[in-house]
Symmetry: C2
Subunit: 335 residues, 2 copies
């Protein structure tokens, strides 16, 4: 690739069901000239987020669907290398949006000039980015979590779930129960402070879940989808809250094949509240939460895992692996 | 029945599916002697509430299930005719609980000494009782309804739904859409101020619903159950709220046969909130709400219908009719 060129990931076709790497292609193009007010960032890391899946099929989600041929959005972190924007200078570190080696931005939309919190820069698209902020505001704003409550977290070894579980513990949860796939992930959850970790792939999952559920859940922080929510509903405590943070098991499923919620009788008797969230609603609170969370990370109180893939060309493969249960930690592409 | 006797309705067996009158029997017994602190009320009216159904099957709801042979609870209004309780004097008008001609109470539990608001006394188990308070606090506390919002109400010709729809209109809803069964109920809804009334029994229900849904709903006040909620989910607006107030279509259905909620993808994108309610949580606010609502009723701003059956013996028949769509207004038994 020449110095005046960039690469980006483009959607080949609308996706029906599970995404595969050939649903994407890498496009090379000349870096466009900067207009007044724009700057150019060179990315260091690009992230894979399950939420991106929802824009790759027809039908509106929280953002409109991408047309085939369009470049795909995803979070990235890098450095300004040219600028015609007063607020962004060459050398500034920024978090932006774009599955690409370079991003041209006018500073609007999701565009964050990174303060110096003395953390690895990729954390800005990890625990200090959407996954960590989702955990933070999902517990604080949506669940209205209070010390002494018992918390169930699904996809608990993922970056959102692991952060939510650790924060719940730090903020005084009586117990934190995580559901994850496989003994390695479950052991890690125990290592980082989950009270209980349940392996959904284990033969005795039902029995393990029944034991954990006997104590009831004040908060369910769900990243998976309806099947686990329906299972948890009869075990929610009075005034329990279900945070619909992600639906990784349902993103690839047509609506009429998504498992139904049937145990809804519980909503009235137990005064349950189920609420969906998009963390960008909490943008005004990000800076304060990021500073506090960075402190917890540096103190070792909140831990995380990363899986780093080298080269933008591996992004489609890394993204598709999010939906097969094989990922373990924050998936990042080092550009 | 001798002057020292009373009658009450007793559950014969746990009910599986639709209730029938022979699931109940009328039991005659001697009025018990009053212990210190108790009083005796003679009922004038007893009410039929769909919510009572949830306690007639095994399995806990917001209250534990009744055992076969137990007297059934239901709201009633009457007059104190004997008292050994300092707070309740002979002649006081009271609202209590019990499907019976007489109630012995110690003044605890659901027991309201009625203020003189110059309204027909049966309103205290109607719009000034559980149905009206459910509408009031469902909109105010649970839905956090705001002027300018568009509201969908199901079972809209029932006492909860009709009151909720009228209150939404009085409080500044941009439009109030009601779903009810049959042209007579729908015409009544239009007469009392609903913007639109949709007949779920009509051949063109789908088309009517599609027209109404095109404008989106900020609030769905649901008294019916999952089938209508699932239908409404894709039409909820950003930050829409679904109040789970009643589930009359699902009460008689085993959990695994309750229609599932499948359109749950909308929860995240639209930040939907679905919350169940039991109006007794709002007891501290009842008196103020009742005074205000009584004023609206006397001014003719909130209207209601009643279906009055004479004699406790007709209570089982009147109750079972709640689930067949034949009731139209508040069903009351004049004792």
């Amino acid at each position: 690739m020449a110095a005046d060129e960039m690469e980006r990931v483009v959607l080949v076709r609308h996706i029906d069901g599970m995404p595969t790497p050939d649903d994407f292609r890498i496009e090379r193009l000349a870096i466009p000239d900067l207009a007044e007010g724009q700057f150019l960032a060179k990315n260091h890391f690009v992230s894979c987020d399950p939420g991106t899946r929802s824009r790759l099929s027809p039908g509106a989600s929280y953002a409109p669907p991408l047309p085939p041929g369009a470049p795909v959005d995803g979070f990235c972190v890098g450095e300004v290398i040219a600028s015609r924007n007063d607020r962004f200078a060459v050398g500034d570190h920024v978090a932006l949006s774009g599955w690409a080696t370079h991003v041209v931005s006018n500073g609007r939309g999701y565009c964050l000039k990174l303060p110096d919190l003395d953390v690895p820069e990729q954390l800005w698209i990890g625990l200090l980015g959407v996954p960590g902020m989702t955990a933070w505001f999902g517990l604080k704003r949506v669940a209205q979590f209070k010390a002494g409550e018992r918390v169930l977290v699904t996809s608990a070894a993922g970056p959102v779930g692991a952060t939510a579980g650790q924060l719940a513990g730090l903020w005084g949860a009586s117990e934190v129960i995580g559901i994850a796939g496989g003994p390695v992930k479950c052991q890690w959850l125990r290592d980082i402070g989950f009270t209980t970790a349940i392996d959904y792939k284990a033969a005795d999952f039902e029995a393990q879940f029944a034991v954990a559920a006997a104590g009831g859940f004040d908060v369910m922080f769900d990243n998976v989808g309806n099947a686990l929510i329906d299972r948890a509903l009869p075990h929610m405590k009075l005034r329990g809250r279900i945070v619909v943070s992600g639906q990784v098991a349902d993103y690839n499923t047509p609506n009429d094949a998504i498992p139904g919620l049937h145990n809804t009788r519980e909503f009235i008797g137990r005064r349950l509240r189920m609420e969906g969230m998009v963390v960008f609603d909490d943008l005004p609170g990000f800076a304060a939460a990021q500073a506090e969370l960075a402190g917890l990370i540096k103190a070792g109180s909140v831990q995380y895992r990363e899986e780093i893939f080298d080269g933008l060309a591996r992004l489609p493969e890394a993204f598709c692996g999010l939906f097969t249960g094989q990922s373990f930690g924050r998936r990042l592409i080092r550009v």
